[in-house]
């Protein structure tokens, strides 16, 4: 133990106690400061410390093997050194810490030299004017007392941090954690990963979102289109590109399709906040040392990390987007086929993809009416009341046939709508081949749908008319309602004619709208509403534009084919008649010579005919409210409107007759409106309705005296 480690110029005393004392006296805080710095820096993302700051193994680091093994390591001395430094952090804080460990140790050695000098040969005591010298016992006591006195906060943390055991322990823990997480990393190369991603994304890719991804695409168009269809389609590609690696559809990936930058920003921000909260990657956030930073520092660190991660995410997304673009282009070049037949092999191998998924087992049933399901059933049968009254011989078959026809109509409608969507993309030139192709396709689809309705022959032997049967179903009403947008005027006229000719047999008119109770009534009401909202408007709109001749023709047809007195109880009939009468009156006024034209004469004839057939049964127009129900304001609105229309075209004598018949009803309504039990807005509505009729006559409800 004669040589010292570094340089070995001065042999310290063999007496360890004296040595320890000397070093205690002379120790600086420099090593401590270095340790602090190195600790703070070392936990920065697990990077390695720069050479000059790594002071942990300084005793052995630069030494040769020979030096270490030939000489025994002086554990005791180094322990004492450390302890001494530990015990006196405050005394020497003002001294500037030398960075170089050699320098530091040399300064120690130097001071040792200095202190050794005057104490050479001295025992446990020495006197130095500039330093407080103590006996060994006092020295020990001092160390112990300093250890046990409550130190200041900084000193305490310094003490805790500086304890080599803790440092080493924590370091090992961290390394162990990292090792556990990264033990099985890098199993797949980057190329492998890209390969898998390519396969998965190519399964999902759709060239034509309208075909494969219909619901989602249309839904987004209808619910949130800010920039319009084309841009949505473009963004669909990006949307697929931003799907995560396993082909999932996530919220973050959805954001570009909303095509609103601020929203994308907030979504990304939220995503990252969530990720910083939830995904605690080892060592990145919340490592043990950083817990001891102040709160502000930790926040800054996290923000910095979030920023780094965000840019990481963005760049990785950009990378994936490029990747997907490459895949898309490749997929476009080579269309995927559902069946692969190798050369020379017998048979096809079916390739399962998104477009050709594994089929569930399908049990084939033989078509045709071999299955008889009993009688059509009561009024509450699904599919419209009394719709089963088709062919008396085989009602079920008729029903199926009608349903099939409706589906054909729907197919046509869908094709037409798709073509209309594509129309926007066609070039404007009329004789461009694609335009002509489009026109042909459009016409074909329309014809197909139209043929199913069989509306061209208003009067057939078959009862009820196929169109009527189609309209008996709710989805038939919807299908027709959607088809009429695409029909020509002639076709609409044919449709209207057919409906009118067979008005009686329509399901909404069958037994009158007012004969039901309970659930059946609700269903009937629903069907009637559907009819009124979907089918009637086109017919009526057509009427509103038609000439008097056509109107007369239709009017005549209506009255001829239908039992007016009976059918007039139904709402659709009332609405229809009201529109006809109104239109007639308007056209009459437009005529240059009102008295002489044939059409006007005809119209007047028709009106009289109508009036006569309704005479005596006007009270039946009104719906019968079951006793005890509260009156709803709109329940007889259509009836009053009809009466108003009737009165508007009536002659004086006819008006008298009208009043006479409607008197009771009017009185009843006015009385009801004045009834204290009826809420104010309901009675007001009732009065409004009654006034519709009375005003047409030149009267008013207030004139009525009860």
């Amino acid at each position: 133990m004669s040589g010292s480690f570094f340089g070995g110029t001065n042999a310290p005393e063999d007496d360890p106690i004296a040595r320890g004392r000397a070093e205690y006296l002379a120790s600086t805080v420099t090593d401590l400061d270095n340790r602090l710095e190195s600790l703070a820096l070392e936990d920065n993302l697990g990077e390695q410390l720069p050479e000059d700051q790594d002071t942990f193994n300084t005793e052995t680091f630069d030494a040769d093997v020979g030096e270490i093994t030939n000489r025994e390591f002086d554990f005791f001395q180094s322990t004492l050194t450390n302890q001494a430094k530990l015990a006196s952090p405050q005394q020497h804080q003002n001294q500037p810490p030398p960075q170089d460990t050699m320098q530091m140790l040399q300064s120690m050695g130097v001071s040792i030299n200095h202190s050794v000098g005057p104490e050479a040969g001295a025992g446990s005591e020495g006197v130095d004017e500039h330093r407080r010298i103590t006996t060994l016992a006092e020295l020990e006591a001092k160390i112990i007392s300093q250890r046990s006195t409550p130190m200041s906060g900084v000193a305490q943390t310094v003490h805790r941090m500086a304890d080599p055991e803790t440092i080493a322990r924590r370091r090992e823990q961290r390394l162990e954690r990292e090792a556990a997480l990264t033990r099985y990393n890098n199993m797949m190369s980057q190329r492998d990963k890209e390969y898998i991603v390519r396969i998965q994304i190519s399964q999902l890719l759709t060239d034509d979102p309208a075909a494969d991804d219909f619901y989602c695409h249309m839904y987004q168009l209808s619910r949130g289109a800010i920039f319009g269809a084309m841009q949505q389609q473009q963004q669909q590609q990006q949307q697929v590109g931003l799907t995560s690696r396993s082909g999932e559809m996530t919220e973050a990936g959805r954001s570009p399709s909303v095509s609103n930058d601020s929203r994308r920003g907030t979504l990304a921000g939220v995503e990252l906040q969530n990720s910083t909260g939830q995904e605690r990657r080892a060592g990145k956030v919340g490592s043990p040392v950083s817990k001891q930073q102040t709160g502000g520092e930790r926040l800054q660190q996290q923000q910095h990390l979030a920023r780094a991660r965000r840019s990481n995410t963005q760049s990785s997304m950009a990378r994936m987007q490029q990747q997907v673009q490459r895949i898309v282009n490749e997929a476009r070049r080579r269309p995927k086929v559902a069946h692969v037949a190798a050369e020379g092999a017998l048979g096809k191998i079916s390739v399962t993809s998104a477009r050709n998924p594994k089929q569930a087992i399908q049990v084939q049933r033989s078509h045709g009416g071999s299955v008889s399901q009993g009688s059509p059933g009561p009024l509450t049968e699904a599919g419209g009341a009394l719709v089963g009254l088709g062919d008396a011989r085989n009602p079920t078959a008729e029903r199926r046939k009608t349903l099939r026809a409706i589906e054909e109509v729907y197919t046509g409608v869908l094709q037409l709508e798709q073509l209309v969507r594509e129309q926007a993309r066609l070039p404007n030139v009329a004789d461009h081949p694609s335009v002509q192709g489009w026109v042909a396709a459009y016409g074909a689809a329309k014809e197909r749908a139209w043929a199913e309705l069989e509306a061209t022959q208003p009067i057939l032997n078959v009862y009820p008319h196929p169109l009527v049967r189609v309209l008996a179903f709710a989805k038939g009403k919807r299908a027709v309602g959607r088809l009429v947008h695409h029909l020509s005027m002639d076709q609409v006229l044919a449709l209207t004619t057919t409906i009118i000719a067979n008005f009686e047999s329509l399901d909404v008119c069958r037994v009158g709208s007012f004969g039901y109770t309970g659930a059946a009534e609700a269903q009937q009401r629903e069907e009637t509403d559907l009819f009124l909202h979907l089918v009637m408007p086109t017919a009526l709109g057509f009427l509103a534009e038609a000439s008097l001749q056509i109107v007369n023709g239709l009017f005549a047809l209506f009255m001829e084919r239908n039992n007016v007195a009976w059918v007039v109880r139904t709402r659709p009939a009332l609405v229809f008649l009201m529109v006809v009468l109104g239109r007639t009156a308007a056209l009459k006024q437009q005529q240059p010579q009102p008295q002489q034209s044939q059409e006007v004469y005809q119209a007047a004839e028709l009106y009289n005919h109508l009036f006569n057939s309704l005479r005596g049964s006007l009270a039946a127009i009104f719906p019968q409210r079951p006793l005890g129900h509260m009156p709803s304001p709109t329940e007889d609105m259509h009836a009053w409107q009809f009466l108003a229309a009737l009165a508007a075209s009536a002659s004086a004598e006819q008006q008298h007759a009208l009043v006479a018949e409607a008197r009771e009803k009017v009185l009843e309504k006015v009385q009801l409106a004045k009834d204290p039990r009826v809420p104010a807005e309901v009675s007001a509505a009732i009065l409004v309705n009654v006034n519709m009729f009375l005003n047409a006559l030149g009267l008013d409800a207030s004139q009525v005296t009860t």
Partner: protein
């Protein structure tokens, strides 16, 4: 692809997934994939007393094959559009 397309529009909505083992989980639909695997976040088990082990779970990934029902809110569904989409799907699968 119809259901995948449908669930894509439900992303971000509150749904209740009932599994084949009778566990019902309510949560916000985070993502769905082509196998109808479902990722939920902010989950809450419907009958939480029976499943205490799920108390601390906040997100989950559910394999598509174990789902029995997915309960949605009606306002988020466009039924007419869904009918159209179903018709198209039926046509395209019948064509070959």
């Amino acid at each position: 692809m119809l259901f995948y397309s449908f669930f894509k529009t439900q992303v971000g909505q509150q749904v209740t997934v009932e599994l084949k083992n009778d566990l019902a989980i309510q949560g916000v639909l985070e993502s769905v994939d082509q196998f109808l695997n479902i990722k939920l976040k902010e989950i809450k088990v419907v009958d939480s007393e029976r499943y205490p082990h799920m108390m601390a779970v906040k997100n989950c990934f559910i394999r598509g094959s174990v789902v029995r029902y997915v309960q949605l809110s009606p306002q988020s569904v466009d039924t007419a559009l869904l009918q159209d989409a179903a018709r198209r799907e039926a046509q395209s699968t019948q064509q070959p």
